[in-house]
């Protein structure tokens, strides 16, 4: 196959610039010494990073997001693994319907999910609580885990499990010693993707968060809606660094393309 010509290279360079521009601009702006958004910054200052420390609401929101993402991703994983083992192997009546149901949060517009959760939580009387928010996030992140765990369950070799059963291993032993180690990469990848999805979720959470359970994306969103000062840029920069660190770790452990495309490293 022929390699790319000069036009193709220029196209790719422009594309990369386009994809990275908003991220680089946010990082650049956060180092400004001035009180307004300017790019390129006229100097380098950590003023707006210190300002984060003076805004406990941002820090509180970040903790809530972190806690929410940790619990929601873990709970969704615990529920998704048995479901994936059931759906992923062999057919049974209702299998397609189950899979479609578990993947459906991806098909319903997020704004519809947001108001549906709000209506439900209000009628049940747990609107604005952390528990209510967590249950909603479990539903939202489930498809992401299920897809990756399903992919690894499908690749599972049933003969090893049958051999273990024939030799008298209990169900639990088979799962712990054979099934789990084999599908572990899929579980880890799914968990990370679920964590990130929950941590970044805005559209649903903006409806169901109360002032005391505001998550970081919601806090940033309402801040941007009111004023645009470099504070939200410095918070963003910290969030970007956090994501990049997580991304590099995942890439080492699992392969980023595998995580997001569901295919092997090329």
């Amino acid at each position: 196959m022929r390699r790319n010509g000069i036009f193709a290279k220029a196209f790719c360079a422009l594309f990369a610039l386009f994809m990275l521009a908003p991220i680089l601009v946010v990082i650049g702006v956060s180092f400004t010494p001035t009180g307004y958004l300017e790019f390129p910054p006229s100097g380098l200052s950590l003023r707006w990073f210190r300002a984060i420390l003076d805004n406990p609401d941002f820090i509180a929101a970040a903790w809530i997001s972190l806690k929410l993402a940790l619990i929601a991703a873990t709970l969704a994983t615990v529920l998704a693994v048995p479901a994936a083992l059931a759906i992923g192997r062999g057919s049974f009546r209702g299998r397609e319907a189950l899979q479609a149901l578990f993947m459906s949060p991806l098909m319903v517009p997020t704004v519809v999910l947001g108001i549906a959760f709000l209506r439900f939580l209000t009628l049940v009387g747990i609107s604005g609580t952390f528990t209510g928010m967590m249950l909603c996030h479990v539903v939202i992140v489930t498809p992401f885990i299920l897809r990756l765990v399903l992919a690894s369950v499908v690749g599972l070799d049933a003969a090893t499990e049958r051999a273990a059963v024939a030799m008298g291993a209990s169900d639990w032993t088979v799962f712990r010693r054979i099934t789990l180690p084999t599908i572990l990469p899929g579980i880890v990848g799914g968990w990370v993707l679920a964590f990130i999805t929950s941590f970044d979720e805005l559209t649903v959470t903006v409806f169901i968060a109360s002032p005391s359970t505001t998550t970081l994306p919601v806090r940033m969103f309402s801040h941007i809606a009111q004023t645009t000062d470099p504070l939200v840029a410095s918070v963003s920069t910290v969030a970007i660094l956090f994501t990049v660190a997580l991304m590099l770790t995942v890439d080492r452990l699992y392969g980023l393309d595998k995580l997001l495309i569901g295919e092997g490293k090329t």
């Binding site: 196959m1 390699r3 049974f92 319903v108 517009p109 108001i115 645009t228």
Partner: protein, 300 residues
């Protein structure tokens, strides 16, 4: 003989439970959660969209089509829905126009540059949409990066208005949606037969001809499935139109948010959301039908 003895061993070793029942049992916790936390809330919202609303008495228990009549009978909402689907269509077309050549170039790169580009494509997916849209707000403002650069270059005299316009929303949405399109097209190209391209080249076809006659037809299934995702996500996008469009340039999702959080007319908001849901579903179903008819079932 051996087969039979293993079977007996199996049956004595564990309590008999039919395989289908085991599978339902394994899925039961998730099913319970989804029934309670997804199906019930969606049904409640459907009912809510038929309820009446009074600014003093709140949400009424009666059912009528009044909210739907209000949305469908008001030019203001037509404008919002028209804008929503216009933006989604423009975003989809631009994403396809950029995504197809990019996926092709991606295929022809050296492994090192390919993995760099894959990181550039996928990386932004992991960064919050709020952060990325904030970046676009800084770039697109009247005193923003883009207008500043264009004026410095002498290409324009006065700043172009990009913030609070549909054009600005499309630009930022293209950025959010491009990864989905590139991934879909790239997957299609990887499934395709690479020797067709090599054959065309060895027969002396110029790059543009190769692209038009070989790559584009091979990429088509990916473009069609990618378009479906991009259109559906753009039509229901919230964060980007809310930040770039502000209060003035409303789309369906921001209108729903407005009814729920500011006007507090939940039934009307629910009706708008239901119409959005049905409209997106209708477009997706029609699209899938058309694709099935054109390129065969395997690609749909």
């Amino acid at each position: 003989m051996t087969m039979a003895s293993t079977e007996t061993l199996r049956e004595t070793a564990r309590p008999a439970l039919p395989p289908a029942a085991r599978k339902w049992l394994l899925s039961a916790p998730m099913l319970l959660l989804f029934a309670l936390m997804l199906l019930v809330p969606l049904l409640m919202t459907l009912v809510l969209s038929f309820n009446s609303f009074d600014f003093y008495k709140g949400i009424g228990g009666d059912l009528s089509l009044a909210n739907y009549a209000e949305v469908l009978g008001d030019g203001y909402f037509y404008e919002i829905f028209g804008r929503t689907f216009g933006i989604a269509l423009a975003t989809t077309l631009i994403c396809a126009a950029i995504g197809v050549p990019l996926a092709w170039f991606l295929n022809r790169m050296t492994p090192f540059w390919r993995s760099v580009m894959v990181l550039v494509v996928l990386g932004p997916l992991l960064i919050s949409v709020v952060v990325r849209t904030l970046g676009w707000a800084i770039i697109l403002g009247n005193k923003g990066v883009l207008n500043g650069a264009l004026m410095d270059l002498g290409l324009i005299e006065r700043p172009i208005r990009l913030m609070y316009t549909s054009g600005g929303i499309v630009l930022a949405l293209v950025h959010v949606m491009l990864p989905y399109m590139v991934l879909a097209v790239w997957a299609a190209l990887q499934r395709a037969d690479a020797s067709a391209e090599a054959a065309a080249e060895s027969l002396g076809a110029r790059p543009w001809t190769v692209f038009r006659r070989v790559i584009l037809p091979q990429a088509m299934p990916g473009v069609l499935s990618g378009s479906l995702i991009v259109f559906a996500l753009s039509a229901s996008a919230f964060a980007t139109p809310a930040i770039i469009g502000g209060r003035r340039v409303k789309v369906a999702a921001t209108a729903v948010h407005d009814e729920f959080m500011n006007t507090l007319n939940w039934p009307l908001g629910a009706a708008i959301a239901m119409i959005l849901l049905v409209a997106i579903m209708a477009v997706m179903l029609t699209w899938t039908r058309l694709v099935e008819a054109r390129v065969g079932k395997e690609y749909a």
